[in-house]
Symmetry: C2
Subunit: 514 residues, 2 copies
């Protein structure tokens, strides 16, 4: 039994952070742009984002939310209206101060001192305040409610330490913003969005997540409640993969979002906001990647099946290409996961084996190689990315199938892959959650230096607030830990608070996080 | 025969500019945001943009072009590399100079003087220079060519006078950027993109356009050739609806985009860029709108058919809604223009007649009203937006059709509407092009003050360049005219140049323009 050679130079267990960077580069997902903190998203990475957008957008529209587009620039004054929002956001942002450049007399350009803006503009870090202005114009009466809007946009938060997909100065996202007559309606929408994110993460991205409420100290600036979905990466750290906020009437007061109720009285709206971003791609890499590169769940793979003809730059190539194209046409008539299959016939120049490994690193779910001998036998050689290696002999686990047989099974194979990726991630996550710890000393040991991949621990607490919570947060910070969330539908508390010894009221997850 | 009452207060012939603004507001397409030069695109307007995006993106992908995403910020230095590009673009742009805000001590915020950027960043007005940097990294050998990329993005050009959709400081667009080994390949791509725009404009947007080359003075800054598609608005003015540029090796020299040829030599790439924007929506309004509001071509209508049940807030409503929903389900099984029908059952509160006029103003291609009597008869009342009025009696031209009959015909009706909108616009445009004028005095009379909707004139010229062209441009400017383009496939010249009297070499269109 020979050794399995992997397609990357860095293994996850040797250096997870370096492995992450290598996957991004080896799968050709993105690269540094040279512009501080901004990345270039390359075709395979952007194709995955387009798939996520399409599936999430379908879910958003199905909920009756309508897409709009709001200005990228927010006047400075908008940020000073909501006190907590200022605190949280009005710090590291890109500020536009001039609207013209002039020659500096040395062959360069400088901002024209004559073209200074009276009120500087901020490049949106999030759009509550500018959409709040629009809501204030659009809503007059209870008949205008609920108002359900969303936008797909770029936002900028000036990050000091950046990491591709996870934390970049500019990123792409969707931000839903809704206004409601009552607290109950707004809370219901907050939960609807949260559940939509859970379903999209689990069903489309094959990312098992835990939905729950963030503690007070992790709330969105200006929110009354912040809910999140949290995913466990393969190094055991948590990634906040989406958030949904109940904003109370805070932003409504700041922007004057009022409605006339059925009795003729003026009321402030209750608003929500919710978003997911290109950060999800970071999560997909760190949950589904392996030592051979990325593995893309079929539901979001730009190409689900890549057919590689073994071309020889010879006259016989024409027949082989025709044979492969026939396979492609057969596959295009099939469906998986409720959609038509997405198939690429990769007839670019180059050795078939080199191309195979490119697609392995990119994580195409199924790779099909076809040589003249396969064609003569009416067969194709099928490699499934989730079971790449033959553990018996350490070679790629090709299955030789009749062309028609494969075409008929391909949809099922993709659905199997989708489920297999979810199951694998789910089992790993569940195996790496430790429950029942009742003392912070044990937590400290659990997360001691040198312990590899400690995962998450679930503990019970008394939900301290204010200064008492600050103390807890400090204590956790010393262990580089954060409270991830209070899981929805978690078991009730039945013990003592791990921090205070008081009676616990709920369970929380502690973890290191991205 | 009673008078036809129209749904807008302003008629096109009374005040075209005011009518344009009224349509935008009456059809609920967009509104001023309060942020200088930026608009809010509302759901119906954004839904039209999403349809344009989807159809154009399909065409872009079918051509093998891959979507990417590049940074919104461009370092100032990038703009000084390509001399003409600086001249043309490095003027009115949004300049980011700071990356942090601090309190001003008076309850407000100011840019933090400590957080001034060493090199200011420009919010992209177009991305040749930043994508050029990426191309220089990505291209090494002739094997890497052609490189075909596109991005869907927002861009900012600080406009002094703005007009919704036509000229806004921020707008949405796609920008294709490609690199090729040879001039011939790059020119072929320039023309492919131009033809793609022509086909999308004519087939999807029902906008007849004339594709041709822009004169030297109208070239994109840094381009060797600029081609455009030009559409005629109902006031006879031209709208440049899309452009495709052959950039020669200018940007390749500026960014160092080089490849090793088959003989091992280093060569500069020939690049192209091409784009269309939310400006297209302005064109759709001004070509297809009428005195009742917008008329959206079915291919890009977010909802092609709107079903309005005549609800009475009574128990019988349930049966009526069920009847309408059955119709919707029947329609969803039908296709038109190669896609499944898009159908809205509008059961929002409100009088059916008021809702009908809302959808007339928005320009939904088919509006179906269903009352209890229609239901009893198994019928529906169908209103086609392209033939809204019964000219005999001046009333809305409802057709009473059996429900199943209508469902079976709906696809054809939509295809008819698509074609009818195109034909109407095409006939109007062709009727408003004047040919055969050989003297500038006649041109001056044709465009004299007080002449309404003079349209375009086709004249012959000797294609002067440099100072001689400047003189021509000045002469035209006095008449508020511009050269639109030299039509592709136009008749050969056979006379004298209208400006110089020399032998003409080609025909050009003169027009007032947006």
């Amino acid at each position: 039994m020979s050794a399995i050679r992997h397609a990357l130079t860095t293994k996850r267990e040797d250096d997870f952070a370096a492995w992450y960077q290598e996957v991004i580069s080896a799968a050709d997902l993105a690269e540094e742009s040279g512009v501080r903190g901004c990345m270039v998203i390359k075709p395979w990475g952007y194709g995955i984002w387009e798939r996520i957008q399409r599936l999430m957008d379908d879910r958003i529209k199905a909920a009756g939310v309508q897409n709009c587009y709001f200005p990228i620039f927010i006047p400075l004054g908008n940020f000073t209206r909501e006190a907590e929002h200022v605190e949280g956001f009005a710090k590291e942002m890109a500020v536009v101060t001039h609207h013209r450049l002039i020659a500096d007399g040395k062959g360069g350009l400088i901002p024209d001192p004559e073209a200074r803006l009276e009120e500087p503009l901020v490049v949106r870090p999030t759009s509550e305040t500018i959409i709040g202005d629009a809501m204030a114009r659009w809503i007059q009466s209870w008949r205008d409610l609920p108002l359900l809007t969303n936008q797909w946009a770029n936002v900028v938060r000036w990050e000091m330490r950046t990491r591709m997909f996870l934390r970049t100065s500019e990123f792409l996202w969707q931000e839903g913003h809704t206004a409601h007559a009552t607290r109950e309606d707004a809370l219901a929408e907050t939960h609807r969005a949260l559940e939509m994110y859970r379903a999209c993460a689990e069903e489309d991205l094959a990312l098992p997540v835990i939905a729950g409420e963030k503690p007070e100290n992790e709330r969105f600036p200006g929110a009354v409640e912040t809910w999140s979905i949290e995913a466990m990466m393969q190094d055991g750290k948590a990634l906040q993969a989406g958030t949904s906020h109940y904003l109370g009437t805070n932003f409504a007061h700041a922007a004057g979002i009022q409605y006339q109720d059925k009795e003729g009285g003026q009321q402030y709206c209750h608003t929500t906001s919710w978003g997911v971003s290109t950060r999800l791609i970071g999560g997909i890499i760190m949950v589904h990647g392996d030592d051979d590169g990325l593995r893309v769940p079929p539901a979001i793979a730009p190409h689900q099946i890549v057919i590689i003809p073994m071309l020889r730059e010879a006259p016989e190539d024409a027949a082989l290409l025709a044979y492969c194209d026939e396979l492609k046409q057969m596959l295009l008539r099939e469906t998986a996961l409720g959609e038509k299959l997405r198939v690429l016939l990769d007839s670019t120049p180059g050795k078939a084996a080199a191309k195979r490994w490119d697609w392995v690193r990119k994580g195409a779910p199924i790779i099909v190689e076809v040589g003249p001998r396969d064609m003569a036998d009416g067969k194709v050689a099928v490699l499934q990315r989730v079971s790449l290696w033959n553990v018996e002999n350490g070679k790629p686990a090709f299955q030789f199938l009749g062309r028609e047989d494969f075409a008929g099974q391909a949809g099922q194979m993709l659905e199997y892959t989708q489920q297999a990726l979810y199951n694998e991630a789910r089992e790993r996550r569940d195996a790496n959650i430790t429950r029942g710890i009742t003392s912070m000393d044990v937590v400290a040991d659990h997360f001691a230096d040198g312990v590899k991949y400690p995962g998450w621990v679930e503990v019970q607490w008394s939900k301290p607030t204010g200064a008492a919570l600050d103390k807890v947060v400090e204590q956790l910070k010393a262990l580089k830990l954060t409270i991830r969330n209070v899981p929805l539908g978690g078991a009730p508390a039945d013990g003592a608070c791990i921090f205070t010894g008081d009676a616990a009221v709920e369970r929380i997850f502690l973890a290191r996080a991205y």
